[in-house]
């Protein structure tokens, strides 16, 4: 049960942590990867807003 509930949140959390750390390790492409990875929480929130049931 918890596996299903936490699959997407865990993926977003791991992507966020990866983004937070990769930008510390270098500039240039490190930063670009960080922007993409750290955008995942926002993408999820916007996606949920677009498909909300009205």
């Amino acid at each position: 049960m918890s596996l299903r509930v936490f699959a997407a949140p865990a993926a977003i959390a791991i992507a966020s942590l990866f983004g937070l750390l990769i930008a510390l390790l270098g500039d240039g492409w490190h930063d670009v990867l960080a922007w993409i990875a750290l955008a995942s929480p926002l993408v999820a929130a916007v996606w949920a807003w677009l498909r909300r049931r009205v």
């Binding site: 509930v5 977003i12 937070l20 930008a23 510390l24 490190h30 922007w35 929480p41 929130a45």
Partner: protein, 377 residues
């Protein structure tokens, strides 16, 4: 999860959140403009500065220091720092070596001429006010430690929120927002969604913010443990009256750590050095190590290098907590993401507060019963 366990976590989540929510609102709202501190400063102070003699010979650090002290004859030097992309030296002075930050005076000098660099201070008063509110609410160390405690409560609230996320989402798909149902259900969904997507970022910024509130005790601990031998060796020597050349001291430090970059000098008697030494702080040359400091200590009376001291883990943790809290290490897009995630955190806080308010007026107070009402799709 048994109803009793659920009730326990629900209580933890409610009370840790309630206690810190007001302060978290303040921290988010003051933090938003602080993310863009550099951009705001640059926009409000667009005048370009050029050195008097571009490419010309640089004055010695001793000459700059003498110039700065001539401007503030009653004061002692505390720090000297160096701009990265222009020949500018910044000198911080104060009425005594242990002067509090509020009593310090900061001035910048052109290293090619010794002339003062006009301060680009339009908007600085507002930004400084926001920074003080964000750091210690104008209460000094007690204020910092109090906000650190609020940070810890926030982390507890986030963790307990994750625990509660599972039972609430048991029968719902990830990202469900029931906008066709009651306002309470809709805001519950937004609270769960925004809280869980921003989870990692909120934990990192909350924890690093808490570590930053410990900056003063960590610096004091470092000084006591790592500089103890130097302090003990000169216990009876008293204050250094006749200082050896600063220029030579900095040159010796840079020569002793050739793969590092000069960042700032802490003068004898302050929080970052002993009563007898110049502490010359250098940072690494790679993106990661540029956040990590290493001090070289030079006897301020004799000019003799006392050694390069590697920083202990707790000081490095503090050093890395700064970029990870400020979001200033990955260009403007990272800052924009920081602002967006702060906005998401405000939604988490606001929806959480709303849910608590409407629940107080509701007859259903048992968490298990609330979940039963809230989990149908």
């Amino acid at each position: 999860m048994s109803p009793a366990t659920l009730r326990k976590w629900s209580l933890i989540h409610t009370w840790t959140s309630l206690v810190c929510t007001l302060f978290l609102f303040m921290l988010c709202l003051t933090g938003l403009p602080l993310i863009f501190h550099d951009e705001i400063d640059a926009a409000l102070n667009p005048e370009a500065w050029t050195p008097a003699r571009a490419g010309g010979e640089l004055l010695s650090l001793d000459a700059i220091l003498a110039r700065a002290l001539a401007e503030r004859p009653q004061e002692v030097p505390l720090f000297m720092s160096f701009d990265e992309h222009r020949p500018v030296v910044n000198v911080t002075t104060g009425p005594s070596p242990d002067a509090p930050a509020a009593a310090m005076h900061f001035a910048s000098y052109d290293r090619t001429s010794g002339a003062p660099v006009p301060s680009a201070d339009r908007g600085e008063a507002v930004m400084h006010f926001l920074l003080q509110l964000h750091t210690d609410m104008f209460l000094g160390l007690p204020g910092m430690l109090f906000l650190g405690a609020m940070g810890l409560l926030f982390v507890l609230a986030v963790v307990s929120g994750v625990v509660l996320y599972a039972p609430f989402m048991r029968r719902l798909r990830f990202g469900t927002v029931r906008a066709h149902r009651s306002a309470r259900l809709q805001w519950l969904d937004w609270h769960n969604l925004t809280g869980i997507v921003a989870l990692a970022w909120m934990l990192v910024v909350g924890l690093t913010g808490t570590i930053n509130t410990l900056a003063d005790p960590i610096t004091e601990l470092w000084k006591r443990r790592e500089l103890a031998d130097l302090v003990a060796a000169h216990r009876d020597a008293g204050v250094v009256l006749e200082r050896a050349s600063l220029e030579a001291a900095v040159a010796a430090a840079v020569a002793a750590a050739p793969d590092r970059v000069l960042q700032f000098v802490a003068f004898p008697g302050g929080a970052f050095s002993t009563a007898r030494h110049y502490a010359i702080f250098l940072h690494g040359a790679t993106p990661l190590t540029s956040h990590l400091l290493t001090p070289a200590l030079v006897d301020a009376a004799t000019g003799e290098l006392a050694g390069v001291r590697e920083m202990p883990w707790y000081f490095q943790a503090l050093a890395l907590s700064r970029p990870l809290h400020f979001g200033d290490y990955g260009g403007l897009p990272l800052k924009l993401l920081w602002a967006a995630l702060t906005a998401i955190t405000l939604v988490v806080l606001g929806s959480g507060l709303y849910l608590w308010v409407v629940r107080r007026g509701s007859a259903v107070s048992d968490p298990a019963a609330r979940i039963a009402l809230a989990t149908d799709a």
